[in-house]
């Protein structure tokens, strides 16, 4: 079953006290596939993605990436393994420029600036940052060039603002920065947690086009999304969750029409738009604050 899968998670379980937030979930993504996970608020989607990307540790289960066991690796090791993610409430570095934000995405690929020698590496890293030999300068220049290229894929949205701090950007632009930062990692798999959360209709359409473009580049993408419209258009496959379990899986149309899915959404009465309820539960992450205070 998992043969040919780029990423395969099996039996993933996470308990919070009495709540089983994720309950024995299996998830397999093939190279180049676009898999969406839908489900009402509190279904366990974010928790599942946190487990897969190392933000949280699972109680049971296993995750393999390209045949390598990456279960419960630290977020840092996950990044090194090629897992990049964005955050539901947006987590750009507010006081850093767009350029620096995206350059952080390049961090795992720095070679010249980050010597890998044992013991003396810290001293070497400081000395190289001070002296800046040609190799370091060339690497930095190349990364900056690449950042410009990535940012340019968002049209004229970000390019003129490369040197502005991201706290000064619009909410939609901050989410673009987050995606650019993820792309700069050269991820094997890209995990997007509700990229349109808190966006208005036109912004949502724009974000859909961005994600669509990523898909057409042949990237492997895992998406959490509330807005079914986007999910239906983009996904190769859809997985629906409720109460921590997978309740349906298959083509977008099949999952949409599955009675269990309809019931789950109706039961929570938040089909397609759970955002306001969730936002009010999280003071300080409202749209105006944008999660960057």
């Amino acid at each position: 079953m998992s043969s040919g899968a780029l990423l395969s998670a099996t039996g993933v379980t996470r308990r919070f006290g009495g709540i089983i937030a994720v309950d024995g979930v299996d998830l397999h993504v093939r190279e180049g596939e676009f898999l969406s996970v839908i489900g009402p608020n509190g279904a366990g989607k974010t928790t599942l993605f946190n487990l897969i990307s190392g933000q949280d540790r699972m109680d049971e289960g296993r995750v393999m990436l390209e045949g390598r066991d990456i279960t419960n690796l630290s977020p840092r090791r996950m990044a090194e393994a090629g897992v990049a993610r964005t955050f539901q409430h947006g987590r750009v570095f507010g006081n850093l420029s767009v350029m620096d934000n995206v350059l952080i995405g390049c961090h795992t690929r720095l070679r010249a600036a980050r010597p890998r020698v044992p013991v003396v590496a810290p001293v070497l890293e400081i000395l190289r940052a001070l002296i800046r030999p040609a190799s370091v300068r060339a690497e930095e220049a190349a990364m900056r060039e690449e950042v410009r290229a990535i940012v340019a894929t968002f049209g004229e949205r970000l390019t003129p603002r490369l040197d502005e701090p991201t706290y000064a950007l619009s909410y939609a632009n901050r989410r673009r920065v987050e995606i650019a930062r993820a792309l700069a990692l050269h991820p094997r798999i890209l995990i997007l947690d509700e990229p349109t959360a808190g966006m208005n209709e036109s912004e949502t359409v724009e974000m859909r086009d961005i994600v669509d473009a990523l898909k057409r580049q042949g990237r492997t993408i895992l998406l959490i999304e509330h807005k079914l419209d986007m999910v239906m258009r983009l996904s190769d496959r859809v997985m629906a969750m409720d109460n921590g379990r997978v309740i349906a899986e298959g083509t977008p149309a099949a999952v949409r029409d599955d009675p269990k899915v309809i019931e789950a959404y109706l039961g929570h009465a938040t089909i397609g738009g759970g955002e306001p309820a969730e936002a009010s539960l999280m003071p300080g992450t409202s749209r105006a604050a944008g999660g960057v205070q």
Partner: protein, 610 residues
């Protein structure tokens, strides 16, 4: 074995419980404030001192009996507490998490200085007539003082419970501590709640001050900080906002200290408290009484560094500034040159702290420890025969290594806990220096440190010494600026902004915090070492908590993370007061007021945070 068993354990237990109940009184106030206002009140120790002196006025100057003194002390403490809330906390309107904490440090300094001005800097006796009987229990005994203190503490705690559970305001306090937003929606007046909590905490803290005075038959205007730290350790043991936990934490701390002194001696008293504190922060940061794994809070993004664009003075202006500074000795005023030398030493220290606190976001209240390590390292090495030039470099390198290793446990901590942790580490360093007599000469200090002679050239007379320090400031400012423009600069700032997101993109935050500490430790160690050679004498108190607070004030004034700002601010804060007699005399008042006003009116500093 026999000798340990034969110690008077009963007496140690009694004194542990009695002292512990005083710590508990302090801790309850801190816990209440932490619960409602989400801050550690560093002025709480000053309230304790105020209480002791109000008690002295009532009991000694006015000759009132104890039953009349206690309520008056509570009233005085309550008023001071409410005043703190009104002056320091309310205007800040929660602009950032760490700002009110720093504001309370400022108020604490001001209150302490006022007590000094009114009552002098020396301890006073506080004789309270007590009957002479003692009840013997087994091998030990209990006296009326023990009982008085314990009973007063219990009555105060009972009164607090009656307030919290029997009055409307008390319920509002509990509701606010549970969920401030919900409480607000239910119409709770948050300002009133805050003020009530500060007043109650003030009353309890003041009573604690009186009780300690009675217990030791003496009051001392210089103990504010130590006692505040004890209360803080108690709430860390008890679980920060947990009021019953604070009582338990206070008693546990009292017992640990009492038994520890019994086994190791009195000079280790404070060491236990800080060791317990560090251990708790590392092993059980939610307190002894917490149940299970708590939900992780949202990240404290941008804990203090406010969104602002730093001012970038043009290169020619900076060059002009350096040139002007280099000409200072030509004014022919040796005193001015000495003052400026001292100011630039602070600048060197501030450059290093602005990297840690500003760029990386680890707001440290223990930075003086790095200076102390550098000073002792260079002093001891050169006295042992190493040339001064080598001593300075070795001291800087030792400080880089040792400082990073000591701070490492604090890297895991966030927000307030960083401040508490670095404070504890700083105090531990100073206590180790005090107690490791064979290496450091203990409380006697180190004499006869060789003067600054580098490669046979005199750098100890006024002018060369000034130029040397100025040169170091310029060199390290340039080096640090260069680092900030490299990948290290953005990586450090990313860690400060959102450690979780940085880790998610492969940044090993502990490693990079270590790099920052290493570089800052080198700079700070050098500053401490140069100071040691200039003073020719240092002791464990040469670089104390006030030094740490002063450096932090400089860093905030300059703009967190701003290198140029740190230098300018050092001249203003460490240089200016010395040129005006009045300011120098009331130094603490000046520093306290400067800190308070800064945080209130210009939290981004003069030149903006970077």
């Amino acid at each position: 074995m026999g000798s340990i068993l034969s110690l008077p354990w009963f007496d140690f237990t009694v004194s542990g419980v009695v002292i512990g109940s005083i710590y508990a009184l302090m801790a309850v106030g801190l816990a209440l404030i932490f619960g409602v206002a989400n801050l550690i009140n560093f002025a709480h120790g000053a309230v304790f001192t105020v209480g002791a002196y109000v008690g002295w006025v009532c009991a000694v100057a006015l000759g009132l009996p104890l039953w009349a003194t206690v309520p008056l002390v509570a009233l005085g403490g309550g008023l001071v507490g409410a005043g703190i809330e009104y002056i320091a906390i309310r205007p800040l309107n929660r602009q950032s998490r760490i700002a009110p904490l720093l504001a309370t440090i400022g108020v604490g300094l001001i209150l302490d200085q006022i007590v000094h001005i009114l009552f002098g800097a020396n301890p006073r006796a506080l004789p309270v007539p007590m009957p002479g009987w003692r009840v013997s229990v087994g091998q030990g005994s209990i006296g009326p003082i023990d009982i008085t203190i314990f009973v007063t503490a219990v009555i105060a705690a009972a009164a607090l419970y009656a307030f919290l559970f029997r009055t409307r305001l008390g319920m509002a306090v509990r509701a606010t501590a549970q969920d401030e937003d919900a409480a607000k929606q239910m119409g709770v007046n948050i300002h009133a709640v805050n003020m009530a909590v500060f007043a109650i905490a003030g009353a309890l803290g003041a009573i604690a001050g009186l009780l300690v005075g009675i217990y030791y038959n003496a009051i001392d205007p210089n103990t504010s900080f130590q006692i505040m730290l004890k209360g803080m350790v108690a709430i860390v043991i008890g679980g920060m906002a947990n009021v019953p936990g604070a009582i338990g934490g206070g008693v546990i701390l009292g017992l640990i200290e009492s038994y520890g002194i019994a086994l190791f001696g009195a000079s280790y008293r404070n060491l236990f408290a800080f060791a317990v504190l560090l251990l708790m922060l590392l092993v059980k940061p939610n307190g002894l009484f917490a149940k299970g794994r708590e939900r992780e809070a949202e990240p404290m993004t941008g804990t203090f560094v406010i969104q602002s664009m730093p001012v970038r003075p043009p290169g020619w202006l900076l060059a002009l500034g350096v040139a002007a500074a280099a000409l200072v000795p030509l004014a022919g005023q040796p005193y001015l040159t000495q003052v400026m030398t001292n100011a630039f030493l602070y600048a060197l220290a501030a450059i290093s702290l602005t990297l840690i606190a500003g760029t990386v976001g680890l707001v440290s209240i223990g930075h003086a420890a790095l200076l102390a390590i550098g000073a002792y390292a260079s002093a001891l090495l050169t006295i042992a025969g190493l040339p001064v030039a080598l001593g300075l470099v070795a001291a800087a390198a030792i400080t880089a290594l040792l400082g990073t290793a000591l701070a490492y446990p604090a890297f895991r901590l966030r927000g307030h806990y960083v401040a508490i942790g670095t404070l504890a580490i700083g105090e531990i360093v100073s206590l180790v220096i005090l107690n490791w007599t064979s290496l450091t000469n203990g409380s006697m200090g180190v004499f006869g440190i060789p003067p600054l002679t580098l490669f046979g050239v005199d750098f100890f007379s006024t002018n060369p010494s000034y130029w040397l320090v100025l040169g170091l400031v310029v060199v390290f400012a340039l080096l640090q600026t260069r680092l900030l423009s490299s990948h290290l600069g953005r990586t450090w700032r990313a860690i400060r902004e959102d450690t979780v997101a940085a880790e998610t993109y492969g940044v090993g935050s502990n490693y990079y915090k270590g790099l920052a500490y290493g570089f800052a430790g080198f700079t700070a160690g050098l500053a401490g070492a140069v100071t040691a050679h200039q003073f020719s004498y240092i002791n464990f108190d040469t670089f104390n908590l006030l030094t740490s607070v002063l450096i932090l004030t400089i860093v905030i004034l300059g703009g967190l993370g701003n290198v140029t700002g740190a230098i300018v601010a050092a001249v203003l804060v460490a240089g200016l007061p010395e040129m005006f007699r009045v300011l120098a005399e009331y130094r603490m008042l000046f520093y306290g007021a400067a800190l308070l006003l800064l945080i209130r009116f210009r939290p981004r500093g003069l030149l903006g945070s970077g």
